[in-house]
Subunit: 224 residues, 2 copies
DNA sequence: ATAGTGTCCATACACGATGTATGGTGGCGC
DNA sequence: GCGCCACCATACATCGTGTATGGACACTAT
């Protein structure tokens, strides 16, 4: 092979501060690619060219493309939980607020999180089944949401009482997973959930019906 | 070009004296393998040896292993819908029956369907994301369930009225998908849904809360 | 300067899986 | 015998993954 190492690589395409770690480049290139392509239709080679990184470098920073996805998911979810914290904690403190409105706000936050990170979140949901690491990660994240939901329910005497002897945690988990599924379907453009209004209404209705026994009241009138 | 013998060979034209049809062997071998291994951890080579079929024969009957799974899913689901028909239709005729009990029975039927076909159903849920054909198939199947649920709701004045101006179909779809997710988690052994009693209670409670506004009443007392 | 070290790159390879192609075997009806 | 059909064995082209191996460059200590 005439592998003359003379005319070496054109170095970085300039403009990029060399300090823009390769690791970050890999991460954001993947996130970008995920915006328009399915994770499994994505080869490391694709990521390599998009991130302008060599194969060797890629495998230096990540053991596999699944690991990259894992990190993207962790980022997205923790960022989302940051945003949702006021919902969970605020409720417990400020018990005076209308719980239904608060629930709806939380549901909408979830929709926003999914809208902003659709590619990444769809990717893990779709590939959770074919990779043990991703599955564990996703279960863990859903567990965190379940914890929050359970705490929310636990601190709400009205809901607590209504659930009677049913496991609060089980109910919280079911609500969490229902959300996961519906948000995913919405992100995937599956009707009728592709309509965010419908999605939020239905999900909010589920929460309020299950926790308070009343259907969603004024679906879209009040200033929201 | 041996691939153009005029028409489809005698696929399975009734009485087949041949050696137990290769096609069937492939199907049931795959179903069996799916009982203990994930679909994506299954190569066609594995199916070949399990079914004692040659590679050429496999690709004569099926274009891919996904197609095999697709057929298994179709079989399982239609069989399941057969079983669930009395639930959907019976309700509409015999309006006198306790709707909550009927709902619970339907939920339990679903659990049974999933228990009996766990491997196959888990496989499609897990790989729905990485194959367009499987995804379309699964959406189609869920649509059928949604149709049934929507009809069930539509024919129930009490539920209809409670839902107000919310889309019946959207509610039906959300309940269907919630079931899909919870049954899947149960099949995957994820707590707390791995406990069938909890699973059925929570799901039934969701249905009755959303449709009737009342929590599940006597969780496990009556003769069931 | 010179050597050392750490970051990065190019190339190539071993492996495993998929799907296709080619040629062969044995039973069966004519 | 002939042709045909259901089936098998094998080989192969292709593609994706993950692992080496070895070299280029920059920055630093001596």
């Amino acid at each position: 092979m005439p592998s003359k190492p003379g005319a070496q690589h054109a170095r970085r395409s300039a403009a990029e501060p060399a300090s823009t770690g390769l690791r970050e480049r890999i991460l954001s290139a993947t996130r970008e690619l995920l915006r328009e392509r399915r994770f499994d239709a994505l080869s490391v080679a694709d990521i390599l060219t998009a991130a302008e990184v060599s194969r060797a470098s890629f495998y230096f920073y990540f053991p596999s493309k699944q690991a990259v996805l894992g990190e993207l998911v962790r980022d997205a979810v923790t960022q989302g939980q940051q945003a949702a914290r006021p919902w969970v904690e605020g409720l417990q403190i400020d018990g005076s607020q209308d719980p239904v409105a608060a629930l709806r706000a939380g549901v909408r936050d979830g929709a926003r999180l999914w809208r902003d990170n659709a590619g990444v979140l769809m990717a893990i949901v779709e590939n959770q089944g074919s990779d043990d690491g991703l599955r564990a990660l996703w279960l863990e994240q859903m567990d965190l949401f379940t914890d929050a939901a359970a705490a929310r329910i636990e601190s709400d005497p009205q809901a607590r009482e209504r659930l009677g002897d049913m496991s609060v945690r089980a109910v919280a988990a079911s609500l969490t997973w229902m959300g996961e599924r519906l948000y995913y379907l919405a992100a995937a453009g599956v009707p009728p959930f592709d309509d965010e209004e419908v999605l939020v209404d239905v999900l909010t209705n589920a929460w309020t019906s299950i926790l308070y026994g009343r259907p969603v009241e004024c679906p879209k009138d009040p200033a929201d």
